[in-house]
């Protein structure tokens, strides 16, 4: 009798390990995906580096960019990364409501970032400095815009995630997805730091 129950114990432990390995596989797969996204951004950065001086008589970064404005953008995104981390910590502590609240704050900060970026784009386009103006502006709008598109996808994901956590609570599956979402969000943060440095800082310095 006891050996049967022992066997059942062992089998259960084995199944748990199998589950765990499966989750690890998904997380590892997501790392690999992030690597491909890294290559995607690397290609866009390379494009930007090639075209950054091809202003074709149009404005350069130095005349267009306002560093204080970009600083506000950056701060809102960095803070959102921090609150996303807090959401993960709350989820690990199985605090459902707290997790949702932190995600809502993250979402709001991300949305702020996106609105700031779009209104900057709008300003440039209205001034006549759209992506049609020069190779430099094409590269600028595409690199920064691709990051913005990723942020939009992240926001959509986060919205779905919030509903998901609200309905199903925090279990193995939601936990795994929260982990991946936070990886994605931090990744976008890192990409933004490169954009901030290479596009805006170097651009503004390079008169």
């Amino acid at each position: 009798m006891s050996s049967i129950s022992q066997n059942a114990e062992v089998a259960r432990a084995d199944r748990l390990i199998e589950r765990h390995e499966k989750d690890n596989t998904t997380i590892f797969g997501f790392w690999v995906y992030l690597m491909t996204d890294c290559v995607l951004f690397a290609s866009l950065f390379a494009t930007f580096a090639v075209l950054r001086n091809n202003t074709f008589g149009g404005p350069s970064g130095a005349t267009l960019f306002s560093l204080p404005y970009v600083l506000v953008e950056t701060l809102s995104l960095l803070t959102s990364s921090f609150t996303c981390g807090l959401a993960l910590v709350s989820a690990q502590a199985r605090r459902k409501t707290q997790t949702i609240i932190w995600f809502i704050i993250t979402f709001a900060l991300g949305l702020t970032f996106l609105s700031l970026e779009l209104s900057e784009f709008h300003k440039f386009v209205v001034m006549g400095d759209s992506w049609r103006r020069s190779g430099f502006l094409s590269a600028y709008f595409t690199l920064v815009g691709t990051h913005g598109l990723h942020i939009s996808i992240g926001l959509l994901w986060m919205a779905v995630m919030i509903v998901f956590i609200y309905k199903r609570g925090i279990n193995k599956l939601t936990m795994k997805r929260i982990r991946m979402l936070s990886m994605f969000w931090h990744f976008l943060d890192v990409v933004w730091i490169f954009i901030f440095t290479i596009v805006y800082l170097f651009g503004a310095l390079h008169a």
Partner: protein
């Protein structure tokens, strides 16, 4: 200004689409009708035989890599026939179109066919065969019950299918790119290619490329994470190593393709200036970007074929593979070097002698690991008990042809030589020798070798050999003249040349070569039909007809959905070969197995992508939004489903497994 532009674009509900884009000239119209007849005929047949439910349940929604692999291969074979039709037109045109004769095709139509041939053969034939065989074999060889991400895998296949569908739709409505298989700007820019052709090219490859990227991620993770206990990396079959190398290249190279195509699409659609001649664009950046993907792509295709050759060499020589470790290191040397040779595709850009010298030397160095592999195959065969079957024929032909083609490649790696031969038919002959022998012959060998594992009977050997000889003779007849023509100054993509050049006889020889290749293809089709006919006679194969060495041959045929009822125990290379030497009887208890449920959502996501691609090509913006919405909806809907697997209990597995054993015995 921008808003005005958008509103005029939104003005017409159908964008640029109108009936005037249906084909008018007889050859295109015939092709379009033939092409449309295939899916319509298939649909009628399925309706007539009442097979829709079966098709939906067993194939369209399947998550089983064994079935997905077969679907990849079927698509690739059909597309191969279309690519062959293009070849016939190209060779006929070039054989006739000299002096006052202008052949059968107009210049622009000829360029479209050349572009379609290259694009289809690389993206939908070579890639399709490769992913097909990988899906079929990799999980079995590493002792896994499934791939790491079955749903992602199925979605990848359907995106590949959507890209294939889009490129074929271009034959029916609109036109295709006439800018070569890689669509260099500024020719591919809107100003010089104002019709939808280049857009079809872009979106077809964009969608199929994302599918390939997903498949790449899946297989890297599968090989790293799903190997059976005991199979350390250095105990993997060499095919799996080659796939790991190839898929690593996919995950690093395909994002570059995605970016490059997107930038060209932005240039053409919203008026950016990445590659335009004016406004500070840089067209050479396109050439750099596309080859930063394109050169690794060559090795993406060729590495798995190398893996197949390694399996074939060992099994049909009844010897273990010579130099396993050096084979592995050669693969990784190729993987790394393939990223630092891309500039040899355009030495004539004028990057300067230092840059050209670097890339020239790197190109010569990459021939070294490839040479190591060639010698290893030869040494594997040396003093082996050769079982002279068709796969070994393909291998031997490959060794010879690949060496000739490779030598031509090393020759062109010398920049001053390349300045003479750049964009000539010499180059065309070189890369066909590499890709046809290195890729296509390899996949032919692989299909012949693994066919009985999935279908339960071998392919007819005699017809296989007829096909082989027709192919080889035809191939040499078709491409050796192109080397000579290249030396004589003939450039690629010529739709007409002066009769005073004296090129026509050689072009005629090349066309005769194609006749032999067609004979080879007919023999291959006959081989399939005759083998099905004879399947219960002498072709009937057990589960291990070649005396195989790797785990896939330990499984019963047909292979159960879970592959391994009990996971194998592995402690050496060539695990099955070693197991056959012992009298081990597996009496371990069975365990429950989780199997992914069918799902139509991969198909839905890809259908959305197809609609999106078609709509963007024709500037039908509302439809593009709709297509995108369908894809996103499919994704979110899938994420809401927590019960994506079903469970076979240990008792069920036991029952199924023992039934199969009884079948094998009887």
């Amino acid at each position: 200004m921008m808003i005005h532009h958008l509103s005029t674009t939104f003005g017409s509900l159908l964008g640029r689409l109108s009936l005037k884009w249906l084909p008018h000239d007889p050859i295109t119209a015939f092709g379009a009708i033939l092409l449309a007849a295939v899916p319509i005929g298939a649909a009628l047949l399925i309706t007539y035989t009442k097979r829709w439910r079966w098709l939906y349940r067993e194939w369209l929604t399947t998550q089983d890599p064994k079935r997905i692999g077969i679907m990849y291969i079927i698509v690739a074979i059909l597309m191969g026939l279309r690519g062959l039709a293009d070849v016939i037109l190209i060779r006929t045109q070039q054989a006739l179109s000299s002096g006052s004769n202008h052949g059968i095709l107009t210049a622009s139509h000829f360029q479209q066919i050349i572009s379609a041939h290259g694009t289809i053969m690389i993206f939908f034939v070579a890639m399709g065969l490769m992913f097909g065989i990988i899906n079929l074999i990799v999980p079995l060889q590493i002792g896994a019950r499934d791939v790491a991400f079955p749903f992602l895998n199925a979605t990848g296949f359907w995106l590949f299918f959507a890209g294939m569908a889009l490129i074929n739709v271009s034959l029916i409505i609109g036109d295709f790119s006439a800018t070569g298989w890689l669509a260099y700007p500024p020719l591919s820019e809107l100003k010089y290619s104002p019709t939808v052709g280049v857009d079809y090219w872009i979106w077809s490859l964009e969608i199929a490329g994302i599918g390939s990227l997903l498949a790449g991620i899946n297989f890297v993770v599968t090989i790293i994470k799903k190997r059976v206990k005991g199979m350390s990396l250095m105990k993997m079959p060499l095919f799996c190593w080659s796939v790991l190398g190839s898929m690593s290249l996919v995950i690093f190279a395909f994002p570059i393709l995605t970016v490059t195509l997107t930038l060209l699409a932005l240039d053409r659609t919203i008026g950016t200036h990445f590659f335009t001649a004016g406004y500070g664009g840089n067209m050479m950046m396109y050439v750099n970007l596309i080859w930063a993907w394109g050169h690794p792509e060559v090795y993406i295709l060729v590495l798995p074929a190398f893996g197949i050759y390694s399996e074939v060499a060992a099994v049909f020589s009844r010897k273990k593979l010579f130099g396993y470790a050096s084979m592995v290191w050669a693969i990784w040397a190729i993987v790394i070097l393939s990223f630092i040779v891309w500039l040899h595709h355009f030495f004539t850009m004028g990057a300067g002698s230092d840059v050209n010298a670097f890339f020239g030397i790197m190109t010569m160095i990459i021939a070294v690991p490839t040479g190591v592999k060639l010698f290893n195959w030869l040494f594997t065969m040396y003093k082996g008990k050769l079982n002279m079957k068709t796969p070994l024929y393909w291998l031997i032909a490959f060794v010879v042809v690949f060496t000739i083609g490779g030598m031509a490649g090393v020759l062109m790696a010398v920049p001053p030589v390349d300045f003479q031969l750049h964009n000539s038919l010499f180059l065309v002959a070189h890369f066909h020798m590499m890709i046809v022998s290195g890729v296509l012959f390899g996949y032919f060998a692989g299909i012949t070798y693994w066919y009985p594992k999935f279908l339960g009977f071998k392919l007819n050997e005699r017809l296989g050999r007829y096909a082989f000889w027709s192919w080889l003779v035809g191939f040499l007849l078709a491409f050796v003249p192109l080397y000579i023509l290249g030396f004589m100054g003939a450039t690629r993509r010529l739709d007409h040349y002066s009769s005073s050049l004296g090129w026509q006889p050689l072009f005629v020889v090349a066309a005769i070569g194609v006749v032999f290749i067609i004979a080879g293809v007919i023999f291959q089709i006959l081989q399939l039909i005759v083998s099905i006919w004879q399947r219960n006679g002498e072709l009937k194969a057990g589960h291990d007809p070649w005396d195989g060495r790797t785990l896939e041959w330990s499984l019963p045929t047909p292979i159960p959905v879970y592959n391994f009822a009990r996971l194998p125990e592995v402690s050496t290379r060539d695990a099955y070969w070693e197991a056959k030497k012992t009298n081990y009887i597996d009496d371990r208890p069975y365990e429950p197995i989780l199997i992914p449920k069918n799902s139509p959502l991969g198909l839905v996501i890809a259908a959305g992508a197809f609609i999106f691609g078609f709509a963007v090509v024709w500037h039908i913006w509302w439809l593009a939004v709709l297509g995108l919405a369908v894809s996103i909806f499919g994704l979110i809907y899938r994420s809401m489903d927590e019960h994506t697997e079903y469970k076979l209990s240990a008792a069920e597995v036991k029952q199924m497994d023992q039934m199969r054993f009884q079948e094998i015995k009887s």
